[in-house]
């Protein structure tokens, strides 16, 4: 069953067409990768799906529901949560506070609630959930550290943790492995698999690190100039000549020839 269905989605910036009438279907429970050269429109695509960027055309359906143009806080409440390409955590807060902020949706604090009711403080259920995610992302040791002091790799995990706190049905990760070394990205791959297997969330992943993408994804879509260049299983993609030409790179010798032309 398809969980996310994007049809004919387009985004223009002035004269530039960043995403060009793109169709994309993501199956429920899949780990789906999106790759493509810099500027192919991957981040733009994410931004449109999550509602941070208006679409110039096309339609986005989530679990059968039209979500085109919904603002981000609405798409999040439907269960579509994204992370950012840059590392994004609430710098001024501690790690556990970051996770608690992620549970915002489960509470939606109101004025009266904050004064007299349940939003005065975090419930034990919230705390438990936060602690659970804390362990899940392996940051239990950093519980009360200020987020800004975490090493980059941990900040990224925290970013994913914040997203997980909102109990997503579809988790959209933008280059989560960027800046990670092999060990870290191996751990990340495990974490992402766990998210799918244990939390039951669908994962949509943008990543330049081929090892991560090829190792993790069941299906990969390749974008180029805002259009779909290829789609298929990792092995098919790795062998696709169009993909090699546009993204993975020309044959070494061919490039050498080009360099000396």
């Amino acid at each position: 069953m398809s969980q996310l269905k994007v049809t004919g989605i387009t985004r223009r910036f002035g004269g530039l067409v960043a995403v060009d009438a793109l169709d994309l279907t993501v199956e429920k429970g899949a780990i789906h990768g999106i790759i493509g050269p810099n500027g192919a429109g991957k981040t733009t695509l994410f931004s449109m799906i999550s509602g941070t960027l208006a679409v110039s055309g096309g339609r986005i359906e989530f679990e059968g529901r039209d979500v085109t143009g919904l603002p981000p806080h609405r798409t999040v409440s439907l269960g579509m949560v994204r992370t950012f390409q840059r590392s994004a955590v609430f710098h001024h807060f501690t790690v556990v506070e970051n996770l608690l902020l992620g549970t915002h949706l489960l509470a939606r604090p109101t004025v009266l609630g904050s004064l007299f009711g349940s939003h005065r403080r975090f419930t034990s259920a919230d705390l438990e959930a936060a602690e659970e995610i804390l362990c899940f992302i392996g940051l239990a040791d950093y519980r009360d550290a200020a987020a800004e002091t975490l090493p980059l790799g941990h900040q990224r995990s925290l970013g994913i943790g914040i997203a997980l706190a909102a109990k997503p049905k579809l988790l959209m990760l933008d280059e989560p492995a960027a800046g990670m070394n092999r060990t870290e990205s191996e751990a990340l791959m495990q974490l992402i698999r766990d998210v799918r297997d244990r939390m039951g969330a669908t994962v949509l992943l943008v990543e330049h690190d081929m090892q991560t993408v090829m190792g993790l994804c069941e299906r990969i879509t390749v974008l180029n100039f805002g259009r779909k260049l290829a789609e298929g299983r990792p092995a098919e993609i790795a062998a696709d000549s169009a993909v090699i030409e546009a993204y993975l790179g020309l044959d070494e010798d061919a490039q050498a020839v080009a360099a000396h032309a």
Binding site: P37, N38, G39, E148, T149, P151, L152, E175, A178, G179, M180, N181, R182, Q190, R193, H208, D209, M210, Q211, V213, M214, G215, F225, P234, A235, A238, A239, E245, A246, L248, G249, L250, E252, Q255, A256, A258, A259, H260, A261
Partner: protein, 245 residues
């Protein structure tokens, strides 16, 4: 020509460059490669004075330049083509080039340089009356490199010239860099596109989380299995499609 010793750079106490040393000899192309966030840009920014180092030294022809403001370092002959090109979007192509020759008050040599740049990048001559911001990415990259050449730099510092460029454009950049090397320019090249960088470089350094983990001749690194696994992704991906869970 340029020597970097034990450079440490941080942002708000997070060290991102953790004590690196390297050198560039006259007439060489030296590449720095490394993953996203490895500290390549930060290193370059420190060389050209956009960022202050916590400690360490940078010597240009024996003269210490660390801690000088960027405009002074530019005056010493370092030309930096920054990440994202940094062209002046609301100025025309000649105006942008004029800024590249800002420190060169000699009209005649300015004209000569302008002519050379136009000859090297004929596309810029064709775009003369256009605002730089409205040109395509590749053209903008040409402009940025051309602008850097306007000041007759001793050392050209290029940060990801292929960023956001289509393969065709990348090849164009490769052509230009090859030509520049042939003309005897000294260049530091930072690239995400490790394959391209290693191919062009006489020597290369591999940066991982702020440290230099490997160095050597470009060709040698290209064949290094560790490099192939870590930075050329493709090799392992093709050979081992589905890595075990």
């Amino acid at each position: 020509m340029l020597e970097v010793r034990d450079l440490i750079v941080d942002y708000d106490k997070t060290e991102v460059v953790r004590g690196i040393s390297f050198e560039i000899k006259k007439g060489e192309i030296v590449s720095l490669i490394g993953a996203n966030g490895a500290g390549k840009t930060t290193t370059l920014r420190t060389l050209t004075g956009l960022k202050r180092a916590r400690s360490g030294s940078v010597l240009l022809e024996g003269q210490a330049i660390q801690g000088l403001p960027a405009h002074r370092i530019a005056g010493l002959g370092l030309a930096h083509v920054p990440e994202g090109r940094g062209i002046f979007p609301f100025m025309t192509v000649p105006e942008n080039l004029e800024m590249g020759g800002y420190l060169n008050r000699d009209k005649a040599s300015f004209r000569r340089n302008l002519e050379t740049v136009f000859e090297r990048f004929p596309v810029l001559r064709r775009r003369q009356h256009q605002l730089a911001g409205s040109m395509s990415g590749g053209e903008q990259q040409m402009l940025a490199i051309g602008r850097a050449l306007m000041g007759n730099p001793k050392l050209l510092v290029l940060d990801e010239p292929s960023l956001g460029l289509s393969p065709v454009m990348c090849q164009e950049i490769v052509r230009v860099l090859t030509e520049l090397r042939a003309a005897g320019r000294t260049i530091i090249l930072v690239e995400q596109n490790a394959r391209m960088a290693l191919r062009l470089a006489d020597r290369a350094y591999v940066l991982d989380r702020g440290r230099i983990v490997l160095q050597g001749r470009g060709r040698d690194l290209l064949d290094n299995p560790n490099v192939r696994t870590a930075y050329l992704g493709l090799a392992t991906a093709v050979s081992a499609p589905a890595s075990p869970a």
